[in-house]
Structures are given as C-alpha cells and as structure tokens.
Amino acid sequence: MTALASALPSAVPCGPEIRHERGQRAVFCGLTGIVWLHRKIQDAFFLVVGSRTCAHLIQSAAGVMIFAEPRFATAIIEERDLAGLADAHEELDRVVRRLLERRPDVRLLFLVGSCPSEVIKLDLGRAAARLSGTFAPDVRVLSYSGSGIETTFTQGEDACLAALVPDLPRSADESLLVVGALADVVEDQFARLFADLGIGNVRFLPGRRAADRAPIGPNTRYLLAQPFLTDTARALEDRGATRIPAPFPLGAEGTTLWLSAAARAFGIPSARLAEVTEAGRARAARALAAHRDRLAGKRVFFFPDSQLEVPLARFLSREMGAALIEVGTPYLHRAHLAEDLALLPDGTRVTEGQSLDDQLDRCRAARPDLTICGLGLANPLEAEDLATKWSIELLFTPIQGYEQAGDLAGLFTRPLARRARLEG
C-alpha cells in the first residue's frame, strides 16, 4: 500500500513537525474499550452486536477476565439475520430479554455497534430507544459504535461516554466535571486534591454506577483526564459546558499544569495551589529521580495506539530526558492536545495515522533504544533485538497523577532494566 505522507504547516510555530500517513494500520478497534469500561461502571453491561470475530477479539483482549462472570457479551449475527432486517430487531429483543433475566443486577445496558452491524445498517439507536421503553425504569439502554471502521482502540471509550452525555441531568450550578475513565485510586486522589484546593462540586464521567449521573449545564467547566475524548467533549459543549484547556495529568509536571488550569478557572490563588500540591510534587520528584538515569538520553519510538502518545512523549522528553525519534498517534486532536504539543521539543516528528510496513522500515532504520508498540509487534521487534514496551499496559495501569508518576516511569524503565539483567 502506498503511504500518503505530507508535512502540513503546523499549528504551533517551530513546534513539532506533524505528518499524516495512510495505509495498513495495526491497531485495535473501539470494542476493546469494553475491557476496562465494564470494570469502571459497576452495574453496566456491554452487548456487542457483531460477528464471531468481535467475540473472539474481546475474548483475546480480555484474557482471563472473561471467566469472572464479566458484564459483556456478543450477540453473534448469523446467516438468517443477514437475510432480512425486520427479523434482526426481534432477534435482538430476544437476546436482550434473555440476558437481563440472567443478570438482574444490570442497570445500564450498552448496545455496542460493530463493523458488521454498521455495514448492514442495523439501527442500534432505535433498538436502544425501543428497549429502554420496555425495561424502564429498571434498566436504561444506550447505544454507541465500537466498530473498527469508525473507531480506533480508545475511541471506543469516547463513543461510550458521548452516549452517556445526553442522559445527564441539567443543572445551572457551578461545577467541575473530570472526564475520562480513571482507575478508582487515581480518581480518589484527584477528588482529594480538588477538595483541598477548595473546588467544590466536582464530579467524574463516567460515574462508578449507572445512577451516578453528574448534572451539567452552562456553568459546568470540564477537564479532560484523557486525550481521546473528541466526541464526548463536543457532546458536553452541546449541553453548555466549557472546556478548561490543559495538558494531560501524566508525570509530575503534567499533573501540576492540569491542576493549575483547574485552579485558575475556579479563581484559586496560586499560593494555595502550591501549598496543596507541595507534598505530591516532592514525592513524585523523589520517585522519578530513581528512573531518570535509565531513561536520560534514550531514543524512543512510538507506534500509534491510544492517542496517549503525545502526552507520554512530552513526559518522557521533559521529565525523563529521553530523545523522541517519532511519535505515532492514530488520531490527533489539535485543540485538545495544543498544550502538550507546545511542550514537545521543536522538530519532534509526530505522525498521525499509519502505514505499518513503512513505519516499521523507519523504526528499523533508527534502531531506537525503546519502542512503544502493540502486542502484535512487540515480540517480533524484540526478536530483532529492539527493546519494546507494550502500549496496552498504559491503559490498564494507573498512571495519572503525582502518586503514579514513578509507576509510569517504571513502565518504561522495566524493559531496559530487564535487558540489562539478562545480558549481565
């Protein structure tokens, strides 16, 4: 496949050099988001309407979780469903009824669209509205798309959260909404920090339970905790909320800038901010010092995966002293990432999209000290004697905030430390 690469004038003068590439993409589809979303919203169930491939993907991605009575499943489309559409809706109703009889604890059901359901134009939005009518008030039914043709990996979370937004109650009260699924422990730390700063009325999206719905309105300011929430942000703005621009809370610097953006928006004096964050900053600095020696001067290459790449690259270059060869990202939201992009070293090569074989050629030619990539590439690159860090772990591990800054650095230093041990 021919790659279409073009350097476009960048939004940030003398900032990173942003390029686009098209071709074969080795990425997950949005269905994968279910793996962590179903843990986050504790009474939600995710029903994928798709093929055996979809079921197989989730099974492969969820690994051992599939056996703990997880709250996700696939309604596998069969030949007779493809024959006529009317029948598909009856089939779906039958499957949902059976499912909810089996799982009476479920309060929120997501019908998740897939490539096959979208290609045959199965209207899941209508199905969700119809089923909501049937099962109200016990169960609300929403729909979103996690298909590969529409979404890449973490965009599945974006689509899911965007589906929650119209469902939130309205309120004109002043409030702060933190958006993006975070590990519970991280969420609690942030809640404490906001409380100490004196920002009242702080809520998180998604909530931990279906009933936990943050009221929003014209006096809601929202702070993105994750960089992949394009549609969710748009849906929040449609409801009158305003975004607080900030870099993402990865590393000590990222966390401080993220918190200070919120503090500024709520008129908290900077002295108060310094006081509240002092202990966390000191702890993070101590924890990071341990890892800096290993990463300083190391040349790092990111394959596109989750859209976390730009803020992670910013953390590695500014706080760990790493050199960035290429920062691949599946999609680049210029506005949401403006603050992070501005902090990247001038001339950093940021690639949006992918042409897999061409990118592998560049990676091999550069021989980076550390390559951040998916599990389909990690062992093959290790076999070529390139150290890798598998990227999915960055979604399944608590990495945001002060207390996790050291853990975040540790994810990158561990493969290097391991190689040193095995070669020693």
Binding site: V27, T53, A55, E79, E150, G376, N379, P380
Partner: protein
C-alpha cells in the same frame, strides 16, 4: 443471533491465518476492517512468534466504504507482493468484507501476478476456525499439487499432514511422530502446513501415503490426495500407548515394514506407572472430557483404558466430527455432548459430578469455579499451554506427558487417604491453609508473617482513611505495601499512618 460470551473457535479466517503462519513463502492478503489485526497477537503472544504473521490486512475504515475498498484491496495485494515476494498468495475476506460487494478473487486475478494467487471462500456467518484451516489447506493442496501421472514412489515414504500454528502441542507432536517414522525406516517427504513452502506442496505426490495427524485440518486435503494421487492415508491418532501402537502398526502396514522391532523398543513409562501401587487410588475416578474431536476421543481412551478412570462425560465443540465423538461416547456407555455453548458444557459438568475435568482453557475455568481438578488437553489454549519444554501428546513420550498431566491435578493417593482418616484433625483437614502458613486462615497468616518480620516493639496505628486506601492496592502486593509503610513509619517514629504516610513510603521505596 446467538448470545455468546466465550467462543471455542475463532472465525474461519483465523484458521486460514493458522495455515499461512505455519508455512513459509506464502502470504495472505485479508480484506478486513481496521481492528482485525488483533489476530496477530494470538501468534506473537500465545505462541511467542518472533516474526509477524505473513498477513497483510486492508484495514479499511468508514471513509473508504464504497468503491474505494476494491481499490485498497488491489493496492494491498500489489504492495504485499512487491515487498514480500512470496511463492504464492492466498486472498480472501473477513466477516465484514464478506458483506461488501468486492470480489477478492477477481480483483487479485486482474493484477496478473506471476505467482499462484489462491482465492478463499470462507463463509464467516456459517463456519468457524477449524473449518477455515481445513478449507485453506485443501485449496492450497488442490492448486499447488495438481494431479499428475504417478511418479516413482518409494513404498516406505509418507507426508505428514495437519500441524499448524496455534495447534495444541503440534510442534512437539511432530518431533515425536518424525522419530517414530525414522525408527521404522519410513522417509518423510513433506510436512505440511507447518514449515512447508508452496513449492513443497508441489512435491506431495512423491510419497506413497499420507499420515494425517489432525483430521480437523488435514482430512479434506488427504481425501483429495487419495482420489487424485492414489495415496492412502492413516488417520489413527498416535495418542497414548495403545494409540501409538495402533498408529505404528497402521503406517508399517502401508509401508510394507515389520513394526515388531519398534514395538519392542523402549516404549513408554505410562504402563508401569499406571500399574504401580500408588496409582490404585486412580481406579474408577470420574472424568469429564471435552475438546476438539481428535483430542477428546484420544484423551477419553487413555483415561479409561490406560489409567483406569471412568469416563462420565465426553463432548466436543467440533460439529464436523460429531459422528466420531458420538460413536466413541457409546463405547463408554454415555451420550456425547456436541455443543459450542460453554454454559451447556458447564451444566453437563455440574450434572456429571466428575472428580477430574480434561478440557480446554474454558473447562479449566469452569472446573475452577466448581472446585474440581482439571488439565488442558485441547485448543483453545492459553500461553501456558505452549510450554518451553518438550511436551508432546503423541508418541511414547506423549504418553508419559499424558500420565503426568492427568494425575498431577489429583492429590497423591496417600495424602488423600490421610485426609479421609484424620478429617477432624485441627491441623490437617481440607479447610486449612497450606502448612507453611501455620494452618491459619490465609489473611490472618499473611498479617502474622508481616508482624513476625518486624522486630521493633513500637505499635503502628493506621488511620481509617489510610487503611481504606491500602485496600485499593492490588491484593498481590498489598502485604508488601503494608509492610513497607509500617517500616517507614517506625523508622520515623510516626504515631499514626495517614494516607500521606502511605504515599510517602511508596515514593521512598520506589527507588
């Protein structure tokens, strides 16, 4: 629509990938949406491949739908040929591309590549993974080993058909079977798909007969070779001592060789181990067997006739082989379970009340939930079932492996008797934790270990919030976190552990 949580088999194009990845010099171009590349990691992670599977995906997205997808497919085929220069290619569609109007066969043909390009029709909404592997292998053999006048064929020569990537123990089974054939003096002409090139498939006709190790993958191809090349085939699975013996007799008969010397050789330790007195407690233990047809049938035979268990359940998810499994179940006086719904398997296991389950990754978890010992004998498997050590199921060494595999999950006989005799012994009943934890319930023991490790006499107090925060630490490192925090607090003579202390300690020890 079928409500599915767990699927024993992937879609048929995964079967095609298993054949392509097993071979060399073959490339697969798969018309598939973005995201379907997840399948790569089955090979790179579960089997730990050091190279990407030889598969190019078109990874089309919504914006490409319409006429664009056909163009993308053509470009992908041309680019894959240009980059990898394979001897042959296979092209086809995944479930989503099957719904589009593109025609991979026609599009690939239009390119006029100077190599065989074999189109695959894999109906994703009717068929599954093993069928896909079988169909792919059959199409490859049919195209690359066309019927030709029978060459001069040495009678003692065969092909070995069936081993693939992601096959349960295929790597080690092949080594065992090659060893047996070498002992018999039978030359192996081609092994396929595993390790074969398209050119090797062209040489299939030069052997006298075929050995089919896994009918799920190779029966169709072997039947076609029998019809067109006049090659008979052996399908006896060499699993267990009796199975291996029958296999040796069958291949020796086809090759016109006396199997006597090989059958009188070293053989396996299984028969003596099964006769030794410690194995008497295995007599009549109730076993439930589930897996693909080949492995389920063979495991049931070994369990019943070579170890002396009672087979109380036998089933398969391979509908294509339901007849064979039903016949085998009748031999054990039971009715076969043919289903791909794990809930039906779970219900059948619960009803049969077995003392041992032999199954797939899924049965391992069902057995765990039911508190029954279990061993894995069939795909689908997890990374631990692709071991570093030599661990065949086939041949005489395979029989040794099976004995260990079936018996290890059970308690050793003596231990079982002692438990029965001293059921109410306070230190020795089945409700206590392992003896090295002092026979106390686990959590208490954990705290005791931590407490014992601390010599300082100063008590440390945890605030309620800090205790709650500690609970958020994953359980497998919580003990360490508690210990480190207390040590940190003691060293600084802190009267109370707060949330701050917990994180101060975390930062301190992360160096």
């Amino acid at each position: 629509m079928q409500l599915t949580l767990w699927t024993y088999e992937g879609p048929p194009h995964i079967g095609a990938m298993r054949v392509a990845t097993a071979m060399r010099g073959l490339h697969y171009v798969l018309h598939a949406p973005q995201g379907d590349t997840y399948a790569d990691l089955l090979f790179t992670m579960i089997e730990r491949h050091g190279a990407r599977p030889p598969v190019t995906y078109t990874t089309f997205q919504a914006r490409d739908l319409g006429s664009d997808t056909a163009e993308i497919f053509k470009q992908a085929v041309a680019a894959a040929y240009g980059r990898f220069r394979p001897q042959a290619m296979i092209v086809g569609a995944s479930c989503t591309a099957e719904l589009l109007q593109d025609d991979p066969a026609g599009l690939a043909k239009a390119l006029g590549l100077p190599i065989p390009v074999i189109p695959l029709e894999l109906p994703a909404y009717q068929k599954k993974e093993n069928w896909g592997a079988s169909e792919t292998f059959y199409r490859l053999v049919r195209t690359l080993a066309p019927a030709a006048p029978a060459p001069e064929r040495p009678t003692a020569s065969c092909n070995i058909l069936g081993p693939t990537s992601l096959g349960f123990r295929h790597r080690d089974d092949l080594r065992e079977v090659r060893g047996l054939l070498a002992e018999l003096g039978i030359a192996v002409n081609v092994v396929a798909p595993l390790g074969a090139t398209p050119a090797d498939l062209g040489r299939l006709g030069q052997a006298a007969f075929n050995v089919v190790l896994y009918p799920e993958v190779a029966r169709s191809a072997a039947q076609w070779l029998e019809k067109t090349h006049g090659q008979p085939f052996v399908e006896t699975a060499p699993i267990g001592v009796k199975g291996t013996t029958a296999f040796i007799e069958a291949v020796a008969a086809l090759a016109g060789i006396d199997p006597g010397p090989v059958l009188q050789g070293e053989g396996s330790r299984l028969p003596w181990y099964a006769r030794s007195v410690d194995s008497t407690y295995l007599t009549g233990k109730r076993v439930f067997v589930f897996g693909d047809a080949t492995h389920a049938i063979a495991a049931a035979r070994v369990a019943a006739r070579e170890i002396g268990f009672s087979v109380v359940g036998l089933g398969t998810y391979s509908r294509e082989f339901a007849r064979e499994v039903r016949a085998e179940a009748a031999e054990h006086g039971i009715e076969a379970l043919v289903t791909d719904d794990y809930l039906a398997v779970e219900a059948a296991i619960a009803a049969a009340q077995p003392e041992l389950v032999l199954g797939t990754q899924m049965e391992r978890h069902i057995a765990k939930r039911l508190g029954v010992p279990c061993a894995v004998i069939s795909a689908p498997m997890h990374v631990q079932d692709v071991p570093a050590r030599h661990a065949p199921q086939m041949g005489f060494e395979g029989a040794n492996v099976l004995f260990d595999t079936f018996v290890h999950p059970l308690m050793m006989g003596l231990e079982e008797h002692l438990l029965a005799m001293f059921r109410d012994d306070p230190e020795f009943h089945d409700g206590v934790a392992p003896s090295h934890l002092g026979g106390r319930p686990r959590e208490e023991a954990e705290t005791a270990v931590v407490a014992a490790a601390v010599t300082a006499a100063t008590p440390v107090v945890w605030s309620i919030e800090a205790e709650r925060e500690l609970k958020k630490v994953p359980f497998f490192v919580r003990g360490k976190a508690r210990h480190n925090t207390e040590r940190y607090a003691r060293e600084r003579a802190l009267p109370l552990i707060t949330v701050e202390t917990l994180y101060d300690a975390k930062a301190h020890f992360s160096r």
